[in-house]
């Protein structure tokens, strides 16, 4: 009997540890440069059938957003990403949306067309997702610095101002020059 109680305890502790490691919390600040790891390169197709490699974006700050049409919290982020793309595209920044829809472009095309998505959307593959830890929970995003290193990872829905502040920090003076707003003044409700 004591043996079974001990087994139950071990299982309960294992489950608790597993659950605790699957949280959606994100560090408040970007990772220090010395702790950033190179983002794995990948090759995927975009909406027009063009081949896209992550390495094509070296020198730019990249917001790599994993999403799917069936993911509610992902949809909430799309207008923000459209805004970021519009605001900072000419300032060394790009959003890359990687859709994990199993149905492929038939599901994605009308969805992004309806929402007037202005950034590049790619069709993800399980192999590519594995490079980024499996990406089984959506939305998952990575913000990459100009050297292609991961400056921050975000699992689950975040606040818009969190994304904005991190972007401002990576874009530096180029972002500030775009609208004259200092990062500290970003006090949106989202």
């Amino acid at each position: 009997m004591a043996f079974f109680k001990r087994i139950h305890l071990v299982v309960a502790v294992f489950v608790a540890i597993t659950m605790a490691s699957c949280n959606t919390a994100t560090n408040a600040a970007l990772k220090p440069e010395s702790k950033r790891r190179q983002a794995p390169n990948f090759t995927l197709k975009d909406n027009s059938g063009q081949t896209v490699q992550l390495s094509d974006y070296k020198g730019k700050v990249v917001f790599l957003n994993f999403w799917a049409t069936w993911c509610g919290p992902c949809k909430e982020e799309i207008p923000w990403l459209i805004e970021f793309e519009q605001e900072y595209k000419g300032k060394g920044f790009a959003v890359l949306g990687v859709s994990m829809d199993e149905e492929g472009w038939d599901a994605i095309r009308p969805f992004i067309s309806n929402r007037k998505v202005n950034y590049r959307v790619l069709l993800g593959t399980p192999e590519m997702a594995d490079l980024y830890g499996g990406v089984d929970a959506l939305p998952t995003s990575f913000i990459l610095d100009r050297e292609g290193r991961i400056a921050q990872a975000y699992v689950g829905a975040q606040l818009k101002r969190k994304f904005q502040n991190d972007l401002f920090e990576l874009l530096g003076s180029q972002a500030n020059a775009s609208n004259g707003v200092a990062p500290a003044l970003l006090l949106g409700t989202n």
Binding site: G72, G133, G134, A153
Partner: protein, 144 residues
């Protein structure tokens, strides 16, 4: 290539099946079987009739042979809104059951038949959505 994020989410299966007990039926008879499922706290799944076409519905599949599946009744959904999903959703939360009506043909072989099935679902919390999953089950039906 080393993984960048813990793949712990892939190990989470928010919906689990309560193994069905033996169902005793007579040849030529009909019965409704409740297949019961549990759900982890904090999660919801789309109902069988989501309010948006992009959402992945609850889908009950059963291979009834040599018996016949006469009907399925899904759990009654409710409408919710969540912190990071402003549009209302038709969801199921907590423990639920799918009712499967099974016909036994008069000439069905007597004995135990293990009817295999799956429930496909797509689960979210209020801030994350997991990729679609399936939970497998077996309904042991004893034809007398």
């Amino acid at each position: 290539m080393a993984l960048l994020l813990p793949s712990c989410w892939a190990q989470i299966n928010p919906v689990s099946v309560v193994p069905p007990q033996n169902v005793f039926l007579k040849a030529g008879g009909t019965a409704t079987v409740a297949v019961r499922f549990g759900m982890m706290k904090g999660y919801h799944v789309n109902s069988d009739k989501p309010l948006e076409k992009h959402l992945i519905p609850l889908k009950f599949n059963l291979k009834p042979e040599p018996l016949e599946l006469a009907g399925i009744v899904y759990p009654k959904p409710h409408t919710e809104t969540y912190q990071f999903q402003k549009e209302p959703l038709s969801v199921v939360t907590g423990a639920f059951a799918v009712m499967a009506t099974i016909n036994v043909p008069a000439n069905a072989p007597k004995g135990t038949h293990k009817l295999a099935g799956t429930l496909r679902y797509q689960a979210c919390t209020d801030s994350i959505c997991l990729s679609p999953r399936s939970v497998a089950f077996t309904i042991p039906v004893v034809v007398r």
